[in-house]
Symmetry: C2
Subunit: 458 residues, 2 copies
């Protein structure tokens, strides 16, 4: 890395920082609520304009039937050998409950060194950090070291329903890219930045037991079948008290963690305060007897069969006896490498068949695949090294515990490694008084410029 | 039985029947909604006045702190050897939904030979049938053949909260009585009258599993315990797939049906249309493989562990992943002779302790004991024989499947056999367009007079 040149970029950032903060406030003042559509079009236009100003000649709003546009633009550089996709989002969650904000959610006021606004963390703050990092880089170098592809969507908070269609539309162009980076909001409470090298997959389904056409008086439980008991007898075949999933074949494709992954997890285990983590989760003990490294292995490398909700019968105050006609349960299985949602769905269906639960209705609600960037991939190394150069010792996670549609980039036909990192403390995302510290915003800008430099030479 | 004398009573009924129907309409026109208190005082006064007119000199409204009065009155007869308690209720359920009534609920209009009103079946219709049966008997004989004790409460639809206190207040008087009869509404759809020689007991309780102080993101199910799984593992220790309850000791006190009871059940089995019963219940099959006599034995003589309701986590449309902090389940156990709610509650608590489920909160919500009148008791024989004399072949049930606080009369210190029978098709109780057929009302009146005659000489 050219230390003096990147030093000049940092100087440029400092010189322009007051203006950059104003632009952040402008961007955050513009509502872009995907759930209601409020300000979506204006924000998409604004976002496209930022990309145009960075030199993109083809930036456009890609529109879908019944959807919010994806802002798509490319910048080609002379002599660039690599192409980096900058995936991000311009939409935000609704700001309610409004009365809990200490400053109006779209006023983007600075209070105590923080810009307070819906989107400050998730993720218009980081998006502006990305743009400004690119701008200062351009100010100093006059051109980018790699080709850039911008994909800034307006439906992330709705589950990214049009990204698959978009990828199909631009498949030929995207296939030529080298990696996807999301400049995000993964800072820990103590300001340590986090890097996520993947996400888990998800299979979300429901089971419905319907034993009659109407609820009947509870006294008839002697002779009328009860759907909740039926679900109990189904569920007990699915997971035992040691939390082992009993669905045949479910662990067959689960690959053990690599040495590289184990090292990552050891680092996390050594640095994470488990007592604080438990307090944050509101629990006294972790599930089962999980502790030490096992806890992390379970958390990052094992599938889980979770119950998200169950409902049946009378659940109000006092007493009312009935035999419910119907019981419904919502469940999810998190998928780790190398599981696929399709195969797992088949295993669930087979399980029900083999146990004779033919009267239970199975409903598949959604599916995401897992995604992983190898720690040895250029983008992973660039991001981690950039953080180190900025003086941080990042927590590198092999994966998020959660799921997101990043697999659409990571799986065939694109096969692009996807990395998520950035500055901005994520806890208040979706909540009132979401904020980004002014200091975090500056680090966010510096990080983007540094990654660019590192990715070129990685 | 004096055939000619009872024949004269029937003649008197016919002579006065037009007036009796008017009085029924008056009684039903007076609202008496225990849930809201509407018309309760007026109806209690009206009810007391009917008893006074039959010759009671001590009829009174027994009042409780925060409750509706019990109308209590006695009539002593010269030479009477026995005393019959006539338990009943003057309160009704709220009439809503009003828009579904074809005639206003307190208009008590006659439509197609039916008096349509809230309370027509449950049970102001039968109460008036009782009064008019007694009136015609008195018209002919000039006196009653047995002493009578009236207990007409205004809180049955609220769970009879003050009956225990009332029984304690009048314990010395009530101990001298011989039996309790409720002139009710237990007619089958085909007009066959039913006699119930008892009720089951009930233990209603909740289990609450609380594993954390707040719901957390579903991705953390790897390490955060899930209270629904916990309930599944509790429940599977409580009942197996063959519906056998696994709580140790639960069957110890269950006495097998007597020969007399088996005979009753055989008669029911021979006469009941199971296909129609299934259609009424809205089910395709009975629980397990129950059929034939086993079905009835299960229904009347076995305890059941029922799930009335369960709720946890997210149960709305679509997908939302979370690990719920809390899960609640409502359950009831029906008690048959010779179980007691106290012992069963101890068994449930022991079960939880022995299985190490110390983190599950157990909450007892309510308890009723079972009650049974021996088929050989005077009151049971009188009621059954009276129905036969009136030309019916009644269905005699050893017990209701349901529960009611009749045990307060049947258990020590009173030890009075309690029988429930009567005319009026019960299905529309609590529903719009509740009705009593004019012909049923006449039979109700005739039955009351006949029971009086039979009980004297039984």
């Amino acid at each position: 890395m050219n230390q003096s040149m990147i030093g000049k970029v940092y100087e440029d950032i400092d010189k322009n920082f007051e203006k950059y903060v104003k632009e952040l406030q402008q961007y955050l003042s513009q509502p872009s609520i995907s759930a209601t559509g409020e300000g979506i079009e204006e924000t998409a236009q604004m976002t496209a304009e930022y990309i145009r100003r960075l030199g993109s000649k083809d930036v456009r709003l890609v529109r879908f039937k019944d959807g919010h546009p994806i802002v798509y633009g490319t910048i080609t550089s002379k002599n660039a050998e690599k192409t980096l996709v900058l995936y991000n989002m311009y939409d935000v969650q609704p700001p309610e409950p409004l009365e809990e904000w200490i400053s109006p959610p779209f006023a983007a006021r600075i209070v105590d060194g923080k810009v307070i606004a819906r989107g400050a963390v998730n993720t218009k703050g980081p998006v502006m950090g990305m743009f400004k990092g690119l701008e200062s880089y351009l100010n100093v170098y006059g051109e980018f070291p790699v080709n850039l592809v911008f994909i800034i969507e307006g439906e992330e908070e709705l589950g990214s329903p049009h990204i698959p269609e978009f990828v199909k539309m631009y498949e030929d162009d995207l296939k030529k890219c080298d990696a996807v980076y999301m400049h995000g909001n993964d800072q820990e409470e103590d300001d340590t930045p986090a890097v996520h090298l993947g996400v888990k997959g998800l299979l979300y389904f429901e089971m419905e037991a319907e034993m009659g056409s109407r609820d009947v008086h509870g006294s008839l439980a002697t002779i009328v079948p009860n759907p909740v008991w039926k679900l109990v007898w189904v569920l007990k075949t699915m997971k035992d008290e040691s939390n082992r999933i009993l669905i045949k074949g479910i662990y067959d494709d689960v690959r053990p963690p690599t040495n590289e992954e184990i090292e990552m997890v050891k680092d996390i285990a050594a640095r994470k305060d488990l007592q604080k983590f438990k307090e944050f989760l509101g629990i006294k003990e972790f599930r089962g007897d999980l502790q030490g490294l096992d806890l992390y292995i379970e958390n990052y490398f094992k599938p889980t069969l979770n119950i998200d909700g169950i409902v049946s019968g009378y659940t109000g105050p006092g007493t009312k006896t009935l035999v419910p006609a119907k019981a419904r349960i919502k469940m999810d299985i998190r998928l780790v490498p190398n599981m696929t949602s399709e195969k797992v769905w088949t295993l669930v269906q087979n399980h029900m068949k083999e146990h004779g639960f033919n009267d239970i209705k199975l409903i598949k609600r959604s599916a995401y695949e897992w995604a992983r960037a190898p720690p040895s991939s250029h983008i992973a190394k660039s991001v981690i090294n950039s953080l180190k150069q900025l003086g941080y010792n990042p927590l590198v996670y092999p994966t998020l515990e959660g799921s997101a549609p990043f697999y659409i980039f990571s799986k065939p036909p694109l096969n692009l490694p996807f990395v998520l990192a950035g500055f901005a403390y994520g806890f208040l995302a979706h909540a009132p008084n979401e904020y980004i510290k002014i200091t975090q915003y500056r680090e966010s800008i510096r990080l983007m410029a540094t990654i660019l430099e590192n990715f070129k030479s990685s």
